[in-house]
């Protein structure tokens, strides 16, 4: 059976290969040629069939008009298809109404253009009727004027007026007739999208508008509609209410409600649910516009869900099929979407879940009610055990990272991805487009900015160029010796305090340079060390800067710290981040040479030197959050809505943090084990008396 089918298919394919079928372009060309042939046939056929009748009709009409003005005695239409004109001397002349004198040619040409070029717009009928009436009137005027010239001036005047002036008139009134037809077919000011100078007037949302329909320059005043709106008047006063409602419903299905496109993503999603809830056939054009133009996954999810839930609905229009095809593709591309119970309902992926910054971000998100997909290369990374979804990926510089990340995102569909490892930016940046297609938004600093932060030599050059105080940076032991000690020798690319060597004697410099891979040396700074957590908006605006003293650190991580207030530190942090061109979260580390002055006056012009910038959240993030600056929540809001205007975040200076270790336990198979040190579930305070005792 199968073999027979195969053979038949082979024969069919062979026949098709031997007989080249016309391509789409050829088919289109044939269609258009057919329409032109129709227009020519319409004009030629109409002319052949109607010209005799038209000549007699126009002669009768002209003589009727002349009779009405009492000139019937001198000019007569008694011959039927010619005029009998008695000239100034009383001698009769026969002025034949030739085919070229008739308005029929113009009327036929206008009607052919209306059908093939203006087509399928209801207003064309009105436009064509008005244009034909005008052409007929103008031709009558031409005939009557030339007959009057013959009657009162001379026969030659009739001929001259009719042939030469008349030909010009013929051309002019046909052109004006065409303009009348075009004008009446065009959109009135209320329905047009641009004015006659090309300015956009329809107030369409940027993302939903048809491209190029108007330059968006301010237009003074709203477009003026016609004083009397005929359709509205008919609906109100003439049509029976059921007919009016039925016509409205038909119109609504084909009309895009552009107001939806001006809303925020959340309100767009709600609007889509509501419109779809009334039936896919009711607001089909608007729903299709959402599927066509929308890029926000929240809104698209809402639409796909609504379409999927209404598959019982009879397919009342072809566009409903288009909606179902779109929803099918959208849901097939991302088949698994968990319904997240409680909280914000948002799912956010966090990379570097094992690092202190990753842990802090995960806990901050969970505290805000978000759900987390924790990602890390190390299967024992503690962030993977903090609840939510955990995925182990290859290292960002290892092969297979991109595929594994995209697979994880496709499976769990987080709405946003927060990267807490600066070294991953290079791998993530090229994936941003594909992540966005999976509904996962990112906000990554520009690769150039991230690279400047990671390469300490490039960073030093950028800060030098921008005039930001930064310790002298050298690449060889000999240059370091010239700077004068003591020194700090560290790798040009390194994280935390790994491979950082303190050198006190110039004799030890060579050894330090040999021991540290890709070493650079800087003079060791005196004063008090600080870290400032900062968030920079997409437009480069500094949204917050929370500086803290690093009272105690272990392994490069703050374990005790105190937030403090300093205008000078804020200014230098702002200048630093501007110099590297960073956007998003960052932490800036440096020294204040004379910190004691800040205790008395936060405005004191203290001497600040910046040592490095990490273009990511810091390990000391909890202190920043505790001091009142919600950098994590604001950053995630900025990821989810790139156009959002993010708030300026303030903080309480003097907030202190003391850190301790905490643990999670899990079995060899990854299953969570109970915490033996965990307190029994807290009992809610029963009486106000206890509260009073606890609260100072």
């Amino acid at each position: 059976m199968h073999r027979r089918l195969d053979r038949r298919l082979d024969r069919t394919l062979a026949r098709a290969a031997g007989r080249p079928a016309p391509g789409g372009t050829t088919v289109r060309r044939h269609l258009v040629l057919l329409e032109i042939a129709f227009a020519v046939a319409w004009c030629a056929g109409g002319f052949a069939l109607l010209i005799e009748w038209a000549r007699r009709f126009e002669v009768a009409l002209a003589t009727g008009v002349l009779d009405a003005f009492g000139l019937g005695g001198q000019i007569s239409g008694v011959l039927g298809d010619a005029f009998l004109v008695f000239g100034p001397d009383g001698s009769p002349v026969v002025a034949e109404m030739s085919a070229s004198c008739s308005a029929l040619t113009s009327v036929l040409a206008l009607s052919a253009l209306a059908v093939v070029a203006l087509r399928r717009r209801a207003q064309v009928v009105v436009g064509l009727a008005a244009a034909c009436a005008f052409v007929l009137f103008a031709n009558q005027l031409r005939l009557i004027l030339s007959l009057l010239a013959g009657r009162y001036l001379a026969v030659d005047a009739l001929v001259f007026f009719h042939d030469w002036v008349g030909a010009l008139l013929n051309f002019a009134y046909t052109l004006i007739g065409l303009l009348i037809m075009i004008g009446l077919t065009m959109h009135d000011a209320q329905q047009a999208e641009q004015d006659r100078t090309g300015r956009h007037t329809a107030n369409r949302p940027d993302a939903w508008a048809r491209p190029g329909l108007g330059y968006r320059a301010p237009v003074a005043g709203a477009p003026q509609g016609p004083p009397v709106r005929v359709a509205a008047w008919l609906h109100r006063n003439v049509l029976p209410a059921p007919v009016s409602r039925w016509l409205n419903a038909r119109r609504e299905a084909r009309r895009v409600d552009y107001r939806v496109g001006h809303q925020t993503a959340g309100r767009r999603a709600a609007a889509v649910r509501e419109l779809a809830g009334r039936g896919l056939g009711v607001h089909t054009a608007t729903l299709l516009a959402v599927a066509t133009h929308e890029t926000d996954p929240i809104v698209l999810d809402a639409l796909a869900d609504a379409v999927a839930a209404r598959q019982w609905e009879p397919v009342s229009a072809r566009d409903v099929v288009a909606l179902r095809l779109w929803a099918r593709a959208w849901l097939m591309r991302a088949p698994v979407r968990r319904d997240l119970p409680g909280g914000s309902g948002r799912l956010v992926a966090v990379t570097g879940a094992g690092g202190p910054a990753g842990v802090a971000v995960i806990r901050a998100l969970q505290a805000a009610g978000d759900h987390v997909v924790a990602l890390d290369a190390n299967p024992d990374a503690v962030g993977l055990r903090l609840g939510g979804i955990a995925v182990v990926l290859p290292r960002a510089d290892a092969p297979g990272y991109a595929e594994a990340l995209l697979a994880a995102v496709a499976e769990h569909r987080p709405a946003a991805l927060v990267c807490t490892v600066a070294e991953e930016y290079a791998a993530l940046t090229p994936l941003a487009g594909r992540l966005a297609e999976l509904g996962c938004r990112t906000w990554l600093p520009s690769p150039a900015a991230a690279e400047t932060c990671l390469d300490k030599a490039a960073f030093a050059a950028a800060l030098h160029a921008a005039g930001v105080p930064h310790p002298a940076t050298v690449r060889t032991a000999r240059e370091a010796a010239l700077l004068g000690g003591p020194w700090v020798v560290k790798p040009a690319r390194g994280r935390g305090s790994r491979d950082v060597v303190m050198v006190d004697h110039s004799a030890d410099l060579d050894h330090a340079f040999a021991a540290v891979p890709g070493a650079i040396a800087q003079p060791r700074l005196t004063g008090l060390e600080f870290t400032a957590d900062a968030l920079v908006g997409r437009d480069g605006t500094l949204l917050t800067c929370v500086p803290r003293w690093r009272d105690e650190t272990r392994g490069g991580i703050s374990t005790r710290g105190t937030t403090f207030d300093s205008a000078a530190v804020t200014a230098v942090v702002a200048a630093t981040l501007r110099a590297v061109g960073h956007t998003g979260p960052a932490n800036v580390q440096g020294f204040v040479a004379d910190p004691e002055r800040l205790a008395a006056d936060p405005e004191a012009p203290v001497r600040v030197t910046v040592v490095e910038v990490n273009p990511r959240f810091s390990g000391g993030l909890p202190l920043t959050l505790a001091s009142g600056a919600d950098v994590v929540g604001t950053y995630v809001d900025g990821i989810l809505d790139p156009a959002a205007e993010l708030p300026r975040l303030t903080f309480r200076p003097g907030t202190r943090m003391a850190r301790y270790f905490s643990e999670v336990y899990y079995a060899a198979d990854g299953a969570a084990l109970p915490d033996p040190l965990a307190a029994a579930p807290a009992v809610a305070p029963q009486s106000p008396a206890i509260l009073e005792e606890v609260a100072p």
Partner: protein, 479 residues
């Protein structure tokens, strides 16, 4: 991918051989001799009658061409404008955006701001602006922008570097290593989505260049500018659209267009020996067996000229360059194995476009002679010459206005096209005679107005004075 022949510029050899401008005076003399011989043999009236007949046939042909484009746009273009893009986010070849500027101080800020705001992955996009020996503040403004944005590279050309826009673009091309070069002019401000919309067509390896749609943004400045606004609507939404829909032969237009850089390199870059490097490149891409595509939704806004003097200069340049393209390329195009018969016919009509106004002028001359009783009747008397002169373009204009959803009052501005047609007869005739006579001509830059240059010309970030940074601490609320 088929490689294009590298002996790319047919006109170059002739131009190089003659140090003076290329001329065709023997051809002009041959036309005169032929006309005189015909008059001597058959008499003036039959000869003029025969010429009128030939003209009528040519006009009829062009009328049907206009009508066909109008029909195709009326049938399909409206839905094309609203159609969704597919996979524009995931296909991101590296792009070099190239702009040649000469004395563009008035518009350069708006242009750079629009280019830097384009929606495309930053790591896959470089912007190179060439300051072609500007004598105003263009170079300084560009340097200020470049200092603020590492994605912008500025190339300053020395005075007398030569080659006009082609020379500047060729120099910029040598600086970059990208898959696709996208070209804008200095007065252009593209919509944010334009790059993704243009490059999506390069998924087809046979596509060599892609053209976007240019829209006039300063129609409000003068009635000539608003007339040009409507002219562009019909030119792009109807004529260019129709050429693609019916023949797959849209023209690459010199700005708001993209071209594969490897193809461009193999063709030897832009032709510096022509003043319409765009048409020249279109034809060379087609001769190489590649396709040009047109995307009516890849939109950028540009300035129209404001005075009839500037209009004359611009249209004269277009006519002069396009007429040269006909002389340079009609033979190779007819012999090309990459085009079908219908496509060759359309290419010939396209190449003749700037000769048609010359023929219109000849037609009007014949009509005038007839008024004085000179010249015989034409073989096709049924078709009044004047109607065909206008009917075809008016069809295109009407469909353009409808597709552009322009308000009704604009219909009366179509009357303004009657003097514009008259002017195009004069410009094209002057360009034809100058081109045939070999009058020297070099690149002439279009002057700008700059009034609608940018919603608000932004100052580059680095150039802005650093605002006083204040602390974010809540003063007096210490923990």
């Amino acid at each position: 991918m088929t490689r294009a022949p590298s002996s790319s510029f047919p006109g170059r050899r002739r131009a190089a051989r003659a140090a003076r401008a290329e001329h065709h005076r023997p051809a002009l003399a041959a036309y005169a001799v032929l006309f005189a011989a015909a008059v001597a043999l058959f008499g003036i009236d039959p000869v003029l009658g025969a010429i009128a007949t030939v003209l009528n046939v040519v006009f009829l042909l062009f009328f049907f061409r206009h009508l066909a484009f109008a029909i195709s746009a009326a049938r399909w273009a409206e839905r094309d404008l609203a159609a969704p893009t597919v996979g524009a986010e995931s296909f991101t070849p590296t792009i070099a955006v190239l702009v040649a500027c000469k004395d563009e101080e008035l518009v350069v800020d708006g242009m750079v701001a629009a280019l830097l705001a384009l929606d495309y992955p930053h790591e896959a996009m470089t912007v190179v602006v060439v300051d072609d020996a500007s004598t105003d503040g263009t170079g300084a403004r560009l340097d200020a922008w470049a200092a603020a944005s590492p994605r912008l590279r500025v190339l300053h050309r020395a005075p007398g570097a030569g080659g006009g826009k082609s020379g500047a673009l060729n120099d910029a091309l040598a600086m970059v290593d990208a898959d696709v070069a996208v070209i804008f002019d200095a007065d252009h401000q593209p919509e944010r989505s334009v790059l993704r919309r243009l490059v999506r067509h390069f998924r087809d390896p046979n596509v060599g260049a892609v053209m976007g749609r240019c829209v006039v943004r300063n129609g409000v400045e003068s009635s000539l500018a608003s007339t040009i606004f409507i002219d562009y609507l019909s030119g792009y939404l109807v004529n260019e659209y129709g050429r693609q829909a019916l023949f797959e032969l849209p023209a690459y237009g010199g700005a708001n267009c993209a071209v594969r850089t490897d193809l461009l390199h193999s063709l030897g870059g832009w032709n510096p020996h022509t003043v319409t490097e765009d048409t020249d490149l279109t034809l060379r891409v087609l001769l190489g067996g590649h396709r040009v595509r047109y995307d009516p939704t890849a939109v950028d806004f540009e300035e129209a000229v404001l005075s009839s003097r500037r209009f004359w200069k611009q249209r004269y340049r277009w006519a002069r360059g396009h007429q040269k393209c006909l002389r340079d390329y009609w033979r190779p195009m007819l012999a090309s194995p990459h085009l079908t018969l219908a496509q060759k016919a359309e290419t010939m009509l396209f190449l003749w476009v700037y000769h048609v106004p010359v023929l219109c002028g000849l037609g009007l001359l014949l009509i005038s002679l007839r008024a004085f009783g000179i010249g015989g009747t034409s073989g096709i008397t049924l078709l009044p010459l004047s109607a065909l002169l206008f009917a075809g373009p008016f069809c295109e204009l009407a469909v353009g206005l409808l597709l552009g959803r322009v308000e009704r009052r604009a219909a009366w501005m179509l009357v303004g096209f009657i003097p514009a047609f008259g002017m195009s007869i004069l410009t094209a005739t002057a360009a034809y005679l100058d081109g045939m006579w070999g009058r020297r001509y070099s690149w002439s830059k279009t002057a700008r107005s700059g009034a609608t240059s940018a919603p608000a010309a932004p100052v580059p970030a680095a150039a802005a004075p650093a605002t006083a940074t204040v602390s974010f601490a809540r003063r007096g609320v210490a923990a």
